[in-house]
């Protein structure tokens, strides 16, 4: 038995990643960061090792590691994390030469959007309900008890949308949803799953690329951009100041923003942050965006939301 366990230990050692040249902590989708890492290595010869989880898990790991950071590059699904890290002075300022065509609102000191997700209504085409056109449609009797929405505490996208609703005095839509029997169902996937099986008809504040990918796989679900406008969730990519491999990290950011990298972003149905990459889906320029100027602070947004849905 001793010999067996020794062999196992050796096996484990061997399977340990070799000292990574660039370590990337990334929020989903997994396929995207996997492709980006592979493409980057092919192009530069630098190895990229990836830890992929939800934004929350990535942040928890960064927080627990903060006395001895491991990551060089972080990709999050929530712009707020970038603002926060920047305020704490954790980010390395870097303006990639490939970021020229990225619009200003998708850039800040130390962070740039890798891609952008849009918030939509995810509607099951076989649900027997009329196709909704706007957020407020989901408060109509046809959708009674048939709507889910992700918890803004668990989904950065939903949070941004709720924030914009509060900023634009649209909270009556949320109240209408609640009165119509909509339920709050965890993170984005937990909200989408019942819609796929048909238990519910639509996700309020669904995420466009997840819905489009599901549709591409043959699920009977459609992403609808509401007429009154929506919000987008830019996904910041940032280099940590603590990185020991800053040059390699910069090269990684360059690669993500390169034409090849942005095409990989588009492949998972996210909007590329560069405006000069043409993709067959609605892009930022095509969307009517709601402003979130004048929105209350995070705790107040969540408290207001809880007041309506509890």
């Amino acid at each position: 038995m001793k010999r067996l366990s020794l062999a196992l230990v050796m096996g484990l050692l061997a399977s340990t990643a070799a000292q990574a040249d660039v370590t990337v902590y990334s929020a989903g989708p997994g396929a995207l960061i996997k492709n980006l890492a592979a493409g980057f290595t092919e192009k530069t010869g630098i190895k990229a090792n990836v830890f992929q989880a939800t934004t929350g898990k990535v942040m928890a790991r960064l927080e627990a590691e903060s006395s001895n950071p491991v990551a060089d590059v972080v990709v999050s699904a929530s712009w707020g994390t970038a603002t926060d890290f920047s305020a704490k002075g954790l980010l390395l300022p870097y303006e990639s030469p490939n970021a020229e065509t990225v619009p200003d609102f998708l850039k800040m000191e130390g962070a740039v959007a890798q891609g952008v997700a849009g918030l939509i209504i995810a509607w099951n085409t076989q649900s027997g309900t009329p196709k909704p056109a706007d957020w407020s449609d989901l408060a109509k009797p046809e959708y009674k008890d048939l709507v889910t929405l992700p918890d803004p505490a668990a989904s950065g996208g939903t949070y941004t949308l709720v924030e914009a609703f509060l900023a634009n005095d649209m909270s009556d839509v949320l109240q209408g949803l609640k009165d119509n029997g909509a339920i709050v169902a965890g993170a984005n996937k937990a909200a989408l799953n019942p819609v796929l099986q048909g238990a519910k008809a639509a996700v309020f504040a669904g995420v466009d690329y997840i819905t489009m990918s599901a549709a591409a796989k043959g699920e009977t679900v459609e992403a609808i951009f509401p007429t009154s406008g929506t919000v987008v969730a830019p996904r910041p990519i940032m280099i940590l100041k603590s990185s020991q491999n800053q040059d390699d990290a910069k090269q990684f950011v360059d690669y993500v923003l390169s034409e090849e990298g942005q095409k990989a972003v588009a492949k998972v149905n996210l909007m590329p942050s560069r405006t000069d990459i043409k993709v067959d889906r609605p892009l930022i320029g095509d969307l009517k965006l709601l402003s979130n100027e004048g929105a209350p602070a995070r705790d107040d947004v969540l408290a207001d939301f809880k007041k309506i849905f509890n």
Binding site: F51, Q197, K217
Partner: protein, 567 residues
């Protein structure tokens, strides 16, 4: 022989004592210590001891805490009641009567151990929700039951009742043969003899296993997270998890909540140990005798139906739901033949696929964890049983502490401990960190099995070896360890099954670029590939069930039945 501080000349091996102490320090004490420090010093993560207790009392005085703690208690008690309702009648029937197909039911009721709870919960959702599998097949759904507090209790009861069933049926069997027959000789009817003799004698075993269920349910994450969130039912574990996985991260808060949870679980475990210490090992330890189990007569059919019904609920439905999802090309396509296919399995098991790598990683980690936890557990239990005084109490307490630590807390504690910049060498960011986490979480199982097994070993077996010229270490390796090995194998199989699918700690501490079964499944769900995730879950359940079975058959064959208790 009387207690007190007798100087024995045949102390256990000093080397083993040090291995146990050092092992427990590294595996259990260090992560726990870091959690406590984190709860007190909020800035500890970045290496600062500033503002002690500043968040500690804020978290403790949060009114939401009472709600969560209350819900946790409610869930624990409710799950215990459900588990008892399922387990007690089945165990009594199984132990005292000749139930048709008894071994098959035993096997089927073992499978819930192998289904990851979060997968079972998802299976239930996909079965019972409106337009779920149940509605697709029968035309009605049970969503209102599923998404309710009693629904969560029911499902967690189904996930855990087999713990009680197995302990209790063995206890009933032993007592039934030895004592209840005596009662019948003195004129008690079968029914009275059960209630007056068998049941009271089984009470310590029943209470201990129910307390185990209580402890398991208050630290369970998957089911309350999947079902409770929909109805705003938050327990301590989901509260801890939320503080860790939702931006902004609140490590001190989650550490503080963990301490509350650890406190509750410790109380449960202290009560359990108190009961176990009062329990007469000769009753429970005795081998079930070839007793004259009674025939069920006309009740054979209803009893079989009852077993079939519970096995269907606990094992059949979750497995079928997993399989249905794994075989569906799309979720929205439903259970139509045109929507069925092996696509997911093909993608999962394709040559060089991520799935295969994750499977390999998990099997290797599971095996190593089982061996390591088994060995450390045996050594620890031996040192505790042999030890004396304060030393023994410290070891004993350390070895049961992880029972009350949720996986996510262990994960955070391990990162805090092993990613310190001043460490010259660290297992962090290698698969060994997962090994540390798994051994920590699962150590109590082998310790429990080994302790029970050691209590049943006659003292003289070891004394005889010492007098025959074997030193303490040799007496352990040649005599004690081989004799407790059969029950250690059972414990190690349990460890293997759980370690190869552990989710919560794995997600947090998995080294960069390293995938395990659970992480793979979780990522598939996260990416909307529920079918692929369920295909992996099905393979995992299959493997974690079949490998131990094969191992046991192999061991049986090798020892040709000469080693008792391999079951």
């Amino acid at each position: 022989m009387a207690g007190g501080s007798v100087t024995t000349g045949a102390e256990g091996s000093v080397l083993l004592k040090w291995i146990a102490t050092l092992g427990l320090l590294i595996v259990v004490a260090i992560p726990c210590l870091f959690i406590v420090v984190q709860a007190i010093f909020p800035e500890f993560g970045s290496g600062s001891f500033a503002a002690p207790f500043s968040l500690f009392f804020k978290t403790l005085s949060d009114p939401a805490l009472f709600g969560m703690a209350g819900n946790t208690l409610l869930l624990g008690v409710g799950t215990v009641i459900c588990a008892a309702v399922f387990a007690v009648p089945l165990a009594a029937l199984r132990a005292l009567y000749r139930v048709p197909g008894a071994l098959i039911w035993d096997g089927l009721l073992l499978i819930p151990f192998m289904i990851p709870p979060y997968i079972a919960a998802l299976g239930w959702i996909m079965t019972l929700q409106p337009r779920g599998y149940l509605e697709q097949v029968t035309g009605f759904n049970m969503a209102s039951l599923l998404f309710s507090v009693s629904g969560i209790m029911l499902i967690m009861g189904l996930n855990t009742f087999s713990v009680v069933y197995f302990v209790l049926s063995r206890t009933f069997e032993t007592i039934g043969a030895r004592y209840s027959d005596v009662g019948r000789v003195f004129g008690a009817g079968q029914w009275r003899s059960f209630w007056r003799i068998t049941f009271p004698l089984a009470m310590p075993g029943l209470a201990a296993s129910l307390l185990l269920v209580f402890a398991m349910s208050i630290e369970e994450y998957g089911t309350p997270a999947a079902l409770g969130r929909r109805i705003g039912f938050e327990v301590l574990v989901t509260g801890i998890e939320n503080r860790i996985s939702e931006w902004p991260i609140d490590l001190p808060g989650s550490a503080t909540l963990s301490l509350v949870l650890v406190g509750m679980a410790l109380v449960a475990f202290m009560v359990q140990r108190w009961l176990l210490n009062r329990r007469d090992y000769r009753i429970v330890g005795g081998k079930p005798q070839a007793s004259d189990k009674r025939s069920l007569g006309v009740w054979a059919v209803p009893a079989t139906l009852l077993f079939a019904f519970v096995a269907l609920l606990a094992t059949g439905l979750p497995i079928l739901a997993i399989l249905a999802t794994a075989l569906s090309r799309t979720i929205s396509g439903g259970l139509k033949p045109s929507n069925m296919g092996l696509d997911n399995f093909r993608e999962l098991l394709g040559a060089g696929s991520d799935g295969l790598i994750a499977l390999g990683n998990s099997l290797m980690l599971g095996t190593t964890t089982a061996l390591l936890a088994g060995l450390l557990g045996a050594i620890t239990a031996y040192s505790v049983v042999k030890g004396r005084g304060r030393f023994r109490i410290v070891l004993d307490a350390l070895s049961i502490t992880p029972n009350s630590l949720p996986g996510v807390v262990v994960g955070v504690g391990i990162i805090l401990a092993w990613n310190q910049p001043w460490l010259p060498i660290t297992p962090y960011n290698t698969p060994f960190i997962l090994l540390l986490a798994y051994v920590c979480i699962l150590l109590p199982q082998p310790v429990r099995y080994a302790t029970a097994s050691l209590h049943q070993l006659g003292d003289n077996l070891e004394s005889a070896a010492r007098v025959s010229g074997a030193g303490p270490l040799r007496a352990f390796t040649r005599i004690v360890f081989p004799l407790i090995l059969p029950s250690m194998v059972t414990a190690m199989i349990l460890v293997f099954a759980v370690a190869s699918r552990e989710l919560v700690a794995s997600l947090l501490v998995a080294p960069v670029g390293f995938q395990t079964i659970a992480v793979y499944i979780w990522q598939q769900f996260d990416q909307g590939s529920a079918g692929l995730g369920m295909a992996m879950a099905f393979c995992a359940v299959l493997i974690t069930t079949l490998i131990p079975l094969a191992l046991i058959s192999l061991l049986r064959w090798l020892t040709r039945g000469s080693v008792a208790g391999l079951s």
